[in-house]
Amino acid sequence: MIGKFRRAAEAAGAEVLEARTPEAALATLARILKEEGVGAGGRTAVWPAGPLRQRFHPEILAQMLPGLVLEVTREAAAAAHVGVTEFEWGAAATGTLVQDASAVAQRLASTLPPVHVALLPAGAIVADIGAALRRFDPARAAFLALVTGPSRTADIERVLTIGVHGPRRLVIVLYGQEAGHA
């Protein structure tokens, strides 16, 4: 399932990294932020609350991820270079990330910065979008967000161009064990 998800996500223009444990995921995230220059020259990243973030004490986060802002306002997200968000489900067939984004911070962090890092438990990958949608009750989720690859357009001469309004780079970090392997 992971292999299928990875192939589909990469075909859609996303990068997929794997981390065995939550700690390894954090280390991977730190590497990406550094690569993107976050923490230097006033470059920031935003990461709204999510299960992975909650596992770590804010001081550890501050130490490992310099430049990270945890208070995700509209202004902070608009100023950030990287947005980190946590997704609930992945759809293998299309490489799609699925998230209840009713909390506005999730949407701000995943739409405004030019780089988006999506964290997803490897055990949460299901067959396809239909299977993922069946795990949500729309009456409880005001905004379901499905994300597949970076923002793209082909509106000028049909030439594919990445990063028009949303992120130009999407990195997916899969962490933990695939379902059925634990």
Binding site: A8, A11, A12, R74, A78, A93, T94, T96, A101, S102, A103, V104, R107, L108, T111, L112, I129, G130, L133, R134, P138, A139, A141, A142, F143, L144, A145, L146, V147, T148, G149, P150, S151, R152, T153, A154, D155, I156, E157, R158, V159, T161, G163, V164, H165, G166, P167
Partner: protein, 713 residues
Amino acid sequence: MPEELRELVRRALAHPHLSAALTRFSEDYRMSRARAYKGIDFEALRERIAARKAAAAEHLEELAARFAAAASARGAHVVRLDAPGDVHDYILRVARRRGARLVVKAKSMATEEIHLNAALAHAGIEVKETDLGEWIVQLARQRPSHMVLPAIHLTRADVARLFSRETGQTLEAEIPQLVRVAREQLREKFLRADIGITGANIAVAETGSLVLCTNEGNARLVSTLPPVHIAVVGLEKLVERFEDIEPILAALPRSATAQQITSYVSILTGPAEAAGGGPKEMHIILYGHRRAAMAADPVFREALQCIRCASCLNVCPVYRLVGGHVFGRVYTGAIGTVLTAWTEGWEASRGLEQLCIQCGACRDACPARIDLPELILEVRRRAAHAVTPPLAGRAAFVLIGNRRAFHAALRAAALAQKPFTEGPYLRHLPLFFTEAGKNRRLPALAAEPFRDRFPRIGQPRSARRVALFAGCLIDFVYPEIGEAIVRILNRAGLEVLFPEAQTCCGAPARFSGAPEAALANIRDNVEALPGDGAEAVVSACPTCTVALQSDAARVAQECGDAALAGRAARLAEKVVDFSTFVHRLAAEGSLRLPSGADLPAVTYHDSCHLKRTLHAAQPPRELLQSCGYALREMQESDVCCGMGGSYSLKMPEVSAAMLARKLRMIAATEAAGVAVDCPGCLMQIRGGCAAAGAPTRVRHTAEWLASLLGPAH
């Protein structure tokens, strides 16, 4: 067709790059769409979509009420409005209350339909389209020319000019840079906007959910950043259940842009948290306008199944020549022709329905399984009723409807043209007598029609008999095709009958919106056929085959003659196209065709009706190959040659452009011959080759086969 439309067609065809760009796109699209649907049962998928959407179309108001109840319960303000002006007023009221100065919009066809931008601008509110293509078109002060790719008619140089004017900088025609400029320019608008307006791709009645698909991510920003979100949703977007999203989501991106899924799909159920905290102010306008009337119309209700994927534009051989500024208004292409007639009235759309060549490519591609060609014919019929047809046209159809008079006239015409038979080729025969045929050189009618030649061909007595339905073209223009058919059937030991009272199949009258004449044709043919003891009625013209096989009973039914419809349906069971029938004879061992040595290579052109209505693309190919002809497939063998019956007379420029392309494809195969199963295509392609001085031999499959049987006795 109104002269203005004709002029637009001419200008579009003369445009330096429009046709080339659109044609390249449609070529790519065919291939990438096929890739996107790989491993998916398209027929099953569209069956599901059609079923769900058809069910919704039957209960539009009920679903609208359920949607309103569900979305209101979640905290959205939902209104059901009809008049475009009421939608304007509603939105302006919200805007005034919020003191709004700037509105950002994501792509929405419904707001284009009601010309919302103009109304907002008139009220002093700045409106920014944020979909890149829409923004480009807005800056160009034009309207979108394609439902999914609004600016497909513009080049990067055009865009650079527009952006330079907008930003006051001098920008190079470099796409990544232009996209960056758009991001910067619009980002600031997103952050400053007071109201965001979107449409929706799907609206779910049971949950009150809206589904928004974009690749750019602009709908996410439009619905998230401003404190107010207004969604203008056409009633046709309603489906009943949340799970109905699935098949639509599987088909829409694949059909629209050949993607598995769009980059972003957002499902909004009631207001989510606003960017400044607290719930957002969300308004949903369920917009009806003429949709309720369409839903009440037994024929046009089907058009409400549309999911706006635009594949009916992408596969249309006419759209790719003239583009959406000619072929459509707000909605473009095949579905645009139908919707424009409803949303803007018969007057506004008059002529659009004439652009359709009835090739059926859109019907095959439509993921909502809408019979678009049939709906366009219905537009034609109703438009013909709305405007009194010119007298000459009507008189001609009276003539075509009267078999004796019609055949007498054809014989007279054949005599009259004697001195100059070498002239260009006759188009769809009966139309020769309508106004469309005026000012044309006389066609090459055969000196002796097939019906006069047939009695001289001695027929064997046989227990197996088949009736030959010749159709006007074989009867009066290409009797040699008729002779070839008879020889092949005789070779199989069959006795051929030619019931003399047969007449035109009725298709020309039907396609021209003259059902009375078609009905007269059907009556004559039902009387005449199948003939004494015939097991089958064989036709070597796919248009005639379809007319007899499926249209005759329907036309009779529609004209209220149930008895005739019943007889036509019984006749239909015996009707079969030539290649399918002969292939069957060969397969059952009744016919052994000789195989020749050193035969020329041929390429095969698929006639629209044979391929897409009769689904018989393989039999002629297999027959030709089994006889030893090497088959060299041309590119896009199933794209219409531009004949389309009277189309080539009514729209000569479009027809000629389609033919020119077909001839290029044929030439590229370097085959010595072209095989076709339709005498109409044969006339078009043979005429084209003759005019181009190409030595290519263009013959009916029956002729290629019969030529191996040795000289006729």
